[in-house]
């Protein structure tokens, strides 16, 4: 860091800048980030203040969560939930944490066994704490079983083989897969089918979505998993960010339309040039 400060004067001449403060090649991107931040923050404040905020449309997969846990309760079989192979700080895993809390509260309320498996050793203690907290808030701290929160292996296929073994032994009636998945998605979905579990899956991994669509009863596609945490918790913060990101999408679509029109009359990619600070 000190070395960087020392070199500051020299390096500053190399980087084209706006007002000598912002890096020119990413200046427009920074403005867009601020604009997006502003929209999201505004929506969060509106939601918190109880002002009207657009509602999140019905997502069948999320409505099915209650049904899935209820089914497991009736059958006397456990619920299985997993965040897949995502990393601890990934956006999909953050969405998983919110959903995990919701499902844990349901299982605490219905006194249904919840088995939570992990591939990432960093997610494991976080998940354990979330479930413990959820059971505490549901007034059932005695029902929490730390042995049912497992870190199985850091390796993709060892983890998958371990989950297959758990499914054969425990035969969960509900399988909830929420996060970032790789090739094991097909195996997990199929093994869930073979034990007769109702399956709700959600991922942003475009390569694995077809497997979930084919193998699961309900699939949340892409950004629906980010909406899931807002949908189940009804937290104003989360609802506000979902609305904010939808406005972001509207802006991007507008840019696509404008860019498409311009592309028909010009050979240069003006939108790309502006975004990259080429002017």
């Amino acid at each position: 860091m000190l070395k960087g400060l020392f070199l500051m004067a020299e390096a500053a001449e190399e980087l084209p800048s706006v007002l000598g403060i912002f890096i020119q090649s990413v200046f427009v991107q920074f403005i867009l980030v601020l604009a997006f931040l502003g929209i999201v923050y505004m929506m969060i404040q509106r939601a918190r203040a109880g002002l009207p905020v657009p509602e999140i449309r019905k997502i069948p997969g999320l409505d099915a969560l209650d049904e899935a846990v209820g089914r497991a309760t009736e059958m006397g079989r456990p619920v299985h939930i997993t965040p897949g192979l995502g990393t601890v700080g990934a956006a999909e895993t953050l969405a998983f944490y919110a959903l995990l809390g919701h499902v844990a509260k349901l299982t605490a309320k219905y006194d249904t066994r919840l088995i939570q498996t992990n591939r990432n050793y960093l997610i494991y203690p976080i998940a354990e704490e979330i479930i413990r907290q959820a059971y505490l808030e549901a007034g059932r701290p005695d029902a929490f079983n730390a042995d049912d929160v497992m870190w199985l292996s850091d390796w993709q296929w060892s983890y998958t083989a371990a989950v297959m073994g758990i499914f054969r032994a425990e035969r969960p009636a509900a399988n909830i897969m929420f996060g970032y998945f790789y090739a094991e998605s097909m195996v997990l979905a199929e093994i869930g089918n073979q034990v007769g579990a109702i399956q709700v899956a959600g991922t942003t991994s475009t390569a694995q979505l077809p497997f979930f669509v084919a193998g699961c009863d309900y699939t949340l596609i892409g950004e629906e998993i980010y909406a899931a945490s807002a949908y189940v918790s009804k937290e104003p913060v989360l609802t506000g960010t979902v609305v904010g990101q939808d406005w972001g999408k509207v802006f991007v679509f507008a840019m696509i339309l404008v860019g498409t029109v311009i592309a028909n009359f010009s050979e240069t990619n003006i939108i790309k040039d502006i975004l990259n600070g080429v002017w």
Partner: protein
């Protein structure tokens, strides 16, 4: 402080990355490079934490004679045995390489190979003409599956171009929409962490 401190560190790290990305001074200070260096060290440390955690879990399994404790013994013996071997002769040593090539790689390929069978049974079960959407999915799946295999063009000339068209036009349009939504969603989630509003990973609901 148990929740506030990690949140504060997360916000600080996020601001450092933003500062490095968009500001001349930030770029010159090399904040992201510094964070990357720390991250490399932390990654190693966390691996050690995981190693210790795994040992503890499986040791307890064996000690309490839980169901399947034999597999815990196998895991512990394998884990420490391979560690000892790699320390003795390095990971590129003949025995370590033998175990890697003939046990680990083959087992990984076996697990991956299972997907072929599961795809077959999942496709057989899922692709039924129950609804219009399901029928469309079925037709597209069969056209692309056969078209992208060499047999497609061998059976019917022009099958591959049709499959290419489905992939390049219909599929890519849909994928772009999904990717766009996913990236914006991830961005919004990152913003929540940056604003200190995301607390689910700290064991609490969002503020």
């Amino acid at each position: 402080m148990r929740k506030e401190l990690p949140m504060f560190i997360g916000v600080l790290a996020g601001l450092a990355v933003i500062f490095d990305r968009y500001f001349v001074l930030g770029r010159n200070l090399g904040l992201t490079a510094t964070l990357d260096d720390w991250s490399v060290v932390m990654d190693g440390m966390m691996f050690a934490v995981g190693f210790i955690n795994l040992t503890r879990l499986h040791y307890l399994n064996v000690k309490r004679r839980r169901a399947g404790f034999i597999y815990s013994i196998v895991l512990l013996v394998t884990m420490y045995g391979y560690l000892a071997l790699a320390l003795y002769e390095t990971v590129d040593g003949p025995n370590a390489t033998f175990i890697f090539d003939n046990v680990f790689r083959t087992m990984g390929s076996t697990m991956y190979g299972m997907i072929a069978f599961f795809i077959a049974s999942a496709a057989y079960r899922a692709f039924r003409v129950r609804t219009r959407e399901a029928t469309l999915m079925l037709v597209a799946a069969v056209l692309v599956m056969i078209g992208k295999a060499p047999v497609g063009d061998a059976l019917v000339a022009g099958w591959d171009p049709l499959a290419e068209w489905i992939l390049n036009v219909i599929n890519t349009g849909g994928m772009k929409g999904i990717l766009l939504g996913a990236y914006l969603g991830a961005f919004a989630t990152a913003l929540r962490v940056l604003l200190g509003l995301e607390r689910a990973h700290l064991g609490g609901a969002a503020k």
